[in-house]
Amino acid sequence: MNLNRPARLAALAALILGFAATTALADDAAPAAPATTAAPAAAAAPAAASDAGDPTQSPAIELSAATQPPNIQRGKLVFQTTANCVNCHGWPGDGSTGKNPRSPGIAANLRQSQLDTNTMIQIVSCGIPGSAMPYHDSQAYKDTRCYGQLLKDFAPDQQPSPGHYINAQDIINVVAYVQQKVKGRGAITKAECEEYFNRPGAAACQDYQ
């Protein structure tokens, strides 16, 4: 569905406000964690992005690229399959539980993330050069949308690595999922696990209370 401009602005506002308004838009249950507080976009920018200025000025994916409201359920699917975030971050996003044993295993703990929505969109889009976090925007480093840099600007062993490419809407969807359903979560619970796998009694959940 193509949203008109006011709807897109509403979606944008929802993103900036940490998805406080998204539960009404997404076909998902109420968030388990409190909605994130709206933080100034640049407040928690990571080191890799620190010289990129205000991420809202030149993000890889413009928030206005969201032609539809962020869809948390779709974002979960992107996390699980399309972008395969779970390969390194694990199903609960803590960077170790349930990850691929042959993955690098040094992924960030998204549950403890301090990153705001805009910064997270930028990192999913552009990756973190010099780390194992890959970029997911197919045009990243082909133009200067990511930190103003091109692939050739990096030494061969420092080049950012590509992940599974996902479109702008899905980058926003997956960030919405992480912001809403992963970030800020405490200890893993059985209920959270069974909700993630959408299966009561899932094998991965048997040891949780």
Partner: protein
């Protein structure tokens, strides 16, 4: 074949192997009937103990590949020599067979790592879920699926396991598979129906993914999921019923010999041995003359946090020699005590009879994941020699010539510090070479028994390791437990190489553009190997130069099988998803894949 003959064959098998007609061991889940897709299943002759024992020497077996590494000494050497360096330019794809099993685990798609077995023109393939396929290749032009044995495996998308299986075993009229849910299942070769099944593992997280080995009338299996917070073991089952006869734990419990190498109390974590790993996830070897099994074991768990499990951690990273009749330990050799580099030593344990210094020696040759090519005296485990076979090795300055242990090893310390520096909870990064995946990891090497030259292919490069402490109460059996992480220090390369077992000296070595993650098989004149970029190639065995190759698109993480149909030589190999074996190459990352069995010939 007529029904009458089928029944007779079945009767004979039952007599020879003592199969009671009611040998269905009642175990959940109830298996369904096999998917039979060919009109006339062919039973063939039962696989006998003699056939297995003489798999490498009996001319009648020259065209077959009856066990995962071809022979009990794991030489992966076929005497077939129709395809040679002179004519291999005419090699082509003869036919291909799609396989099932791309269903994902919770973190993504699995891998195809299995060796295909070959018997009298029929192929036995396995997918990542351990499901056996019998394929009629007798025409040489097409692979017709005779049956797919429904083991009743739950393809659980919530599984946190790596979905991979490395092969099958043949015994009597049964095809044996072992599964990641801890069951061992016999599928009837004639019908593809489950003949019996046994739930061998009892604890959460335990299961199998290496190929079973039939030896001494037993089926030998290894608990594979050490990195999922479990305790490794090797078990022997009655070949006719699957009933467990003995079990050897690769991590001793308190009070047993070797238990003092798990200083769990020092870590204020008295149960650390219970999740100590040392998994037996790759098939070992067998010497029928002494009834000795030789098995490699995996890393101590968690791999990157030695402070969780201080001590040498026996019998991790070891070769263990076991009495096949009793499962009693005869000797062990631990390659990297108290390891923190993930250098488990499950790879090929090759039994070679060779003259060293004018003396006839029975040796065990092993390309260590730690980058060193070892020879041990297989009668007692004594170290003979060790030579680095990777271009860069920094984790040790060398081996003690008497003990074969790394020179940095200090038996008085509970936390070892190797040449790479300590990896511990204080933080920092350890740069280790070779890559934590090897060298050679699970994928097999080969030995030419006519020359006693060993052949392998692997990774050239280094890893950066970091520690991430996990609290004991956060450790869950069945969930991956590594205590840290690793990245490729730089884009990794590969190589293919040959070494003289008698001297430990390199004979030939060639670089490969990508790391090899699949292993090798050899003939009198050629070495065959698949590569992660989809290249399947034939290499001159003398020089290891590539003589022919084709790129089929899928990644190869499984080794080749060399076999014959009516005297004509073929090579079979499974190809599929690349998983995480892209080693940082953007062109390989996340490639689409299909699970396929390819068969090549002139």
């Amino acid at each position: 074949m007529t029904t009458k003959k089928l029944m007779l064959t079945g009767l004979l098998t039952a007599t020879v192997f003592g199969l009671a007609s009611a040998s269905f061991a009642a175990q959940p889940p109830a298996p369904a009937a096999a998917t039979t897709t060919a009109a006339t299943p062919t039973a063939g002759d039962p696989v006998s103990a003699d056939q297995l024992a003489n798999a490498g020497t009996d001319d009648k077996q020259a065209g077959n590949w009856l066990m995962v590494n071809k022979t009990y000494d794991s030489n992966r050497y076929s005497s077939l020599n129709e395809i040679t360096p002179d004519n291999v330019a005419g090699m082509k794809l003869a036919f291909a067979v799609p396989l099932n099993g791309l269903e994902p685990s919770s973190f993504g798609v699995g891998a195809l790592e299995g060796t295909v077995l070959a018997k009298d023109g029929f192929l036995y393939a396995v997918d990542g879920w351990g499901t056996p396929y019998k394929i009629d290749a007798t025409s040489g032009k097409e692979g017709k699926i005779v049956w797919i044995c429904d083991t009743g495996i739950t393809k659980d998308p919530t599984s946190g396991l790596l979905i991979a299986n490395r092969g099958l075993a043949l015994v009597g009229n049964n095809v044996i598979t072992n599964l990641n849910d801890g069951r061992v299942v016999a599928c009837d070769d004639s019908t593809g129906q489950v003949a019996w099944q046994q739930q061998i593992t009892k604890n959460p997280g335990e299961g199998f993914d290496g190929a079973p080995l039939v030896a001494d009338g037993k089926i030998i299996v290894g608990q594979a999921f050490g990195d999922w917070a479990t305790r490794g073991f090797i078990a022997a089952l009655d070949a006719a019923t699957g009933k467990e006869l003995w079990r050897f734990y690769t991590v001793p419990e308190p009070g047993q010999p070797g238990s003092d190498t798990w200083k769990c109390d020092q870590a204020k974590n008295p149960d650390c041995w219970k999740t100590g790993g040392a998994a037996a996830w790759v098939t070992g070897s067998y010497d029928p003359s002494t009834k000795t099994l030789y098995w490699g074991t995996g890393n101590p768990v968690p791999m990157f946090d030695p402070e969780y499990r201080p001590g040498d951690n026996l019998y991790s990273n070891s070769t263990v020699a076991l009495d096949a009749e009793t499962g009693k330990l005869k000797w062990y050799f631990q390659y990297t005590p108290g390891d923190y580099h993930d250098y488990d030593e499950v790879g090929s344990q090759q039994l070679v009879n060779v003259k060293i210094g004018g003396e006839d020696r029975k040796v065990l040759a092993h390309f260590g994941r730690n980058g060193i090519f070892y020879t041990l005296d297989r009668t007692n485990g004594a170290f003979i020699q060790g030579t680095p076979y990777v271009n860069k090795l920094n984790w040790t300055k060398g081996l003690d010539p008497k003990t074969g242990l790394p020179v940095e090893y200090d038996p008085s310390k509970s936390l070892q510090v190797y040449g790479t520096g300590a990896l511990n909870r204080a933080g920092g990064t350890v740069n280790t070479c070779p890559n934590l995946q090897g060298g050679i990891n699970y994928w097999p090497s080969a030995v030419d028994p006519t020359t006693n030259v060993a052949y392998g292919a692997g990774i050239e490069g280094c890893s950066n390791l970091t520690n991430k402490t996990v609290a004991p109460n956060a450790v869950k059996a069945g969930q991956i437990f590594q205590g840290g992480g690793a990245t490729n220090a730089e884009p990794q390369k590969g190589s293919v190489f040959s070494y003289d077992v008698a001297t430990g000296k390199q004979i030939a070595k060639q670089g490969l553009p990508y790391p090899n993650y699949a292993g090798v098989s050899i003939t009198p004149s050629l070495l065959f190997a698949g590569q992660v970029d989809g290249t399947f190639g034939a290499y001159d065995k003398k020089t290891l130069e590539e003589k022919w190759s084709i790129n089929i698109g899928n990644a190869f993480e499984a080794p080749p099988t060399i076999f014959a149909i009516n005297g004509k030589e073929y090579v079979a190999i499974e190809g599929g998803p690349i998983g995480n074996a892209d080693f940082g190459y953007p062109e390989l990352k996340g490639k689409p894949a299909a699970n396929m069995l390819y068969v090549f010939s002139l």
